[in-house]
Amino acid sequence: MTPFTFARAHDAAEAVRLGAPAGSKYLGGGTNLVDLMREHVEQPSTLVDVTGLSGAIDERPGGGLLIGAAATNTALAEHRAVRERFPMLARAIAAGASGQIRNMATVAGNILQRTRCTYFYDHLGSRCNKRQPGQGCDALDGINRNHAVLGASSACVATHPSDMCVALAALDAVVHLEGSGGARSVPFTDFHLLPEDHPERETMMLPGELITAIELKPLPMAAHSTYRKVRDRASYAFALVSVAAALEVEDGMVKEVRLALGGVAHQPWRAHTLEHMLRGRPAAFAAFETAAAGEMLAARPLRDNGFKIELAQRTMVAVLGALAASGARGAARS
């Protein structure tokens, strides 16, 4: 690990001041950043520990929540309001990593975690445009079974590895930021970028900016929501495909639907096409199938990952079917 200076921030203003110089990075639970530093993929000159900043989970008017960026993944998943009002979020967090890692990892750190593309990690042996802009991408013609089928580019086919973020995308969360230029907030679905020609740019954050909180707006339909993850083993593995979804049915018709996919793109993939196709349609298998196929029309398989297209369609249909069938609030695990 390259030597670095360690600093501890006590509030957001101090963190932003300490984090301003180039080469500074914010440190949450360390579960991804410390590993990347050991692999020499990340070589910050200063680490600013922000775990002492707010991790409070506060009620907002109408049933929303304001979640301090330093809240641990476990704290968020176990919070009663999250379990009752936003079960897809509690289930998504519980689907990720291990108990130990969820106890360490912060909400902001989860959002800012890097891809697990093995070519990105292999800093001595592989080319990676994300790690070394302009170098080329060895995943494109390499072992790319785990890679993206939606929104990828010839510069990068990596996926965003988070489960939690898939739920945040479906819930239309808002990211609160603070930087030297002041505070601002942005929709979560605009936060992570597609790779295009610059996969090294992963979010719309400005240099030195800090995530201070995540806001969940009131969304009564989210009480009937869930998360399903498909992976190579039953637990403690990244998603091949995952689905976060909420469904509101009235008189047999889809009144409202929110759905996002994980494991298929450089960002948590909000399924706008599917949502548009389903609103006002029968809450039935045929409509779910048509809309899921519609969402995946834009998919482009690589050599090894074509299976993800059908897998994503089937998982979307299965999750929507389970939500339609269970009807009751606080849907059980799908």
Partner: protein, 179 residues
């Protein structure tokens, strides 16, 4: 200037180099070799320790300096002098290990896991996540302990020991709620 951490009840000075992981600090600086270095990248759970009582973490991914002022319990801190922690006794009775390398991590993880389950932290296999009382079932234990690998494959003994120690029934079909 206070720059210390409490390890198994003893206050010790933190390392000056911030690169030192909590795992290397325990093993190389304090010579507490019970905590094991398996993968050193957060994949195996052999380095699991407890923070402030019951919060299980991976010491390999923890920078020691981040734990200033905290209380760390490693496997050496579970037993009371010559009396084993009841969970350690249960591991012996249920053959919860063969080579023993993953055992310190399994023990610390199981202590933290039990506290999480009793608090109502949901897992991926919890059916009703709105409840605060989750059954101490075989499936829950297996899912919640999935971050601790055992390459000898002693999982059945581990799950039996952990489940019995927490008052659950080892068999899935007859799992009883732990009051």
């Amino acid at each position: 200037m206070q720059s210390t951490v409490t390890i198994n009840g003893a206050e010790v000075e933190l390392p000056g180099d911030p690169r030192v992981s909590l795992l290397d600090f325990l093993r190389e600086h304090l010579h507490l070799s019970g905590t094991k270095k398996g993968c050193d990248q957060g994949a195996c759970g052999a380095c699991t320790v407890l923070v402030d009582g019951e919060r299980r973490i991976l010491s390999c991914l923890a920078l020691a300096v981040q734990y200033q002022g905290r209380k760390i319990t490693s496997v050496e801190g579970l037993a009371q002098e010559d009396t084993l922690h009841p969970l350690q006794q249960a591991f012996i009775e249920h053959d919860g290990f063969q080579c023993g390398y993953c055992t310190p991590g399994q023990l610390c993880s199981a202590v933290g896991m039990a506290a999480e389950l009793r608090r109502g932290v949901p897992s991926y296999v919890t059916d009703d996540i709105s409840t605060d009382t989750i059954e101490f079932s075989h499936d829950e234990v297996r899912e919640r302990m999935s971050g601790n690998l055992c390459r000898c494959g002693a999982y059945n003994g581990i799950v039996a020991a952990v489940t019995e120690h927490n008052g659950g029934q080892a068999r899935q079909s007859t799992a009883q709620e732990d009051a």
